[in-house]
């Protein structure tokens, strides 16, 4: 029985961690390229969840298919936010940047509250609640599918960043904005694209999450916090760091909740967090910056 509990806890933690990872790589990409902390990250996810919900409820479009809509829509929303708002404060003091993204967060949440009320909603697809059994371990099919899609998307993003010209330009901008500019990289355009891609990632995560989670205007807040944790754990701005950070946070939450106490799940995560940062102040895979 004990080993079943352990196995189940690990599986559940990893499945959740996969989604945390997708949310976190979006956040770390935005941070890496623009050095800006995006408090509205989880709320972009909330928007994607509502898009998914309405497409399913009104037109019966399967959530997994609606990814092809939510990702481009969120890409556009992200780019517009970057071009019209973030761009203006890139050279402003950090506090102004924080207040700006915090403002976007409040506007997004309250607009959602106004448009769709505070009701909790959930998608009931035909496969909702279907389960497969691996030995004694139960795995929800929506969770498993969402996990797989999240991992595939993260992998694709990784290939994009390492193999394509625009991806390399993005990494170059992340490393050093001025030098990239001198090397002929169109930095403002790269920044817009980066914010767009970061938003598309979290949008995809929102859609995937909505197959087994509830939807409400404030649903994003919990996930913003978790993503920050994963990003800092993995090293600010590090892509692979954020990916593993997400998985670690998922696992730590699950194991902590099973073996310590559910109401102290964050405690376990933060203790691990503190120890990793004590041992490696720049995060697991972070490079120390001057």
């Amino acid at each position: 029985m004990e080993s079943v509990v352990l196995a189940q806890a690990i599986v559940s933690g990893l499945l959740m961690g996969g989604l945390y990872a997708l949310i976190s790589v979006g956040l770390t990409l935005i941070f890496g390229v623009m050095r800006i902390i995006n408090f509205a990250h989880g709320d972009l996810m909330m928007l994607a969840m509502y898009i998914t919900y309405w497409m399913f409820t009104l037109y019966g479009i399967d959530p997994y298919i609606s990814i092809v809509v939510t990702m481009p829509v969120l890409f556009v929303i992200g780019s517009v936010i970057q071009k019209s708002l973030i761009n203006r404060v890139l050279d402003a003091p950090q506090s102004s940047q924080l207040f700006l993204t915090l403002g976007v967060m409040l506007i997004a949440q309250n607009a959602a509250l106004l448009l769709w009320k505070a009701d909790y909603r959930a998608i009931r697809a035909p496969y909702t609640g279907s389960v497969i059994k691996l030995g004694e371990v139960f795995v929800g099919i929506p969770r498993l599918t969402s996990f797989a899609v999240a991992i595939i998307l993260t992998g694709m993003l990784y290939l994009f960043l390492t193999r394509t010209k625009i991806g390399r330009a993005m990494r170059a901008t992340a490393q050093n904005r001025e030098v990239s500019m001198l090397m002929g990289v169109n930095v403002p355009r790269i920044q817009t694209v980066a914010f767009g891609i970061g938003s598309a990632c979290v949008g995809a995560a929102g859609t995937l999450l909505s197959t087994f989670y509830y939807i409400s205007p404030t649903v994003g807040t919990t996930f913003t916090l978790t993503a920050f944790l994963a990003v800092v754990l993995g090293g600010m701005g590090s892509f692979t760091g954020a990916f593993f950070g997400g998985l670690i946070v998922g696992l730590a939450e699950s194991l902590g909740a099973v073996y310590v106490a559910t109401q102290y799940r964050e405690l376990v995560t933060f203790i691990i967090f503190i120890f990793i940062l004590l041992a490696k102040p720049s995060g697991l895979l972070g490079k120390s910056r001057v």
Binding site: A9, S12, F138, F212, Y214, T262
Partner: protein, 439 residues
Amino acid sequence: MRVYEALKDAGSTRSSKAATKIQAVIIIAVIIVASVAAYWYYYTTTIAVPEEIIIGAPLPFSGAMATIGLSCQRGHDLAVEDINAAGGIESLGGAKIKMVYADIQSDPEVTTSETERLISTHHPVAILGAYASSLTYVATAVSEREKVPFLAPMAQADAITDRGFQYVFRQAIRASSVGAKAIDMIVEMAEHYGTPVETIAIVYENTLWGQTGAEAARKRAPEVGFTIVYDEAYSQGTSDLSPVVINLKAARPDVVVLASYLNDAILMARTFHELDFNAMGYVAMGGGYLEPDFINSAGKDSEFFFAGSGWQRDLSITGLADVVERYEEKHEIFMNEHAGLCYAATWLIKEVLELSGSLHPDNPLDPDSIRDAFLKIDISSGPAAMTAGGRAKFNEKGDNIYGSHVYLQVLNGTQCTAWPFDRAAAEAVWPAPLWNERQ
């Protein structure tokens, strides 16, 4: 002239005899006139009860609880219509009831000022309100100071009647009894269906409401011979409930007792199904499991969950169906617990005033007369008793000792009253079918 002189020389020994005689006559005359006047004055002012009895209702009509405030108002209004149509308060010469509302904006600070304003401008005879425990707690502090009797139709927090107040009464169940009621329900279910229950688990959200409920269940369980095999709090709005369910499954309780808000309730039902956690009964102390959105969002996974409620539209009480039908026809919306409890509470205050009128005909609207009527009333039929407990009788603290919960079960997507058996509207499904055997 003689009188004048006599009075003038009243103190002198020479004419003292005459003076005292006249004085005595005057004093007697004055006393007679004064007592007749006083009796006449007394008679006219106390017996002539105003034609309209004003009842105040501070309720949240805006802010987070706005929709609930509206349901309450509809419940009160329907009751007032019925009471006045039936001839008002008989013992007070058929006086009609008039409700005066104040918007307390779901905000404790506004509640204080609006309740004060309500009392000083309208001088209500009694107050009904103010939905949430937090709002009722502050509203009753004002009404107690102003000596206006207050009947809370649904606030559950123990603290409301634990302050030694004289004029505060509660119709609903006390929060600390909710958990014990859940255990009692499990005992009866197990007996009725011949499925012995030995172990239970308690899973609750870790704010005041969940903790109070869990505490009572934890205390009651050993008294009826249950062993608690898992007792776990989780923080509200957590991102994943799988860990709770994993442990729950390993603990193998016969029945699980739950206290969650709506978002966690949805996640809980889904995670039970996903991780295949089976129990004889999933028994929730109201909260999120009671809301229509629980069924809408959790869908089939919400089937067979029990939830405690202070009122339900299908309760088998004579006359209730008619009230529900008229309400639903008028507003084209399901009559909910809030409207139901407010409807009953309005009738209860009517019955209290009725009793006050017959017990204290000389001064029926005095706060102390009303308090006395509250302490003496014992009503178990008619609209005033259309609640889960089916009876109203108050103790010294102001709690309705029959304040209770009925348990509803989700059956084919509808919540039906399933316990207590004598007021059930549907046959309960106990034990719940295994997840993998449901279609």
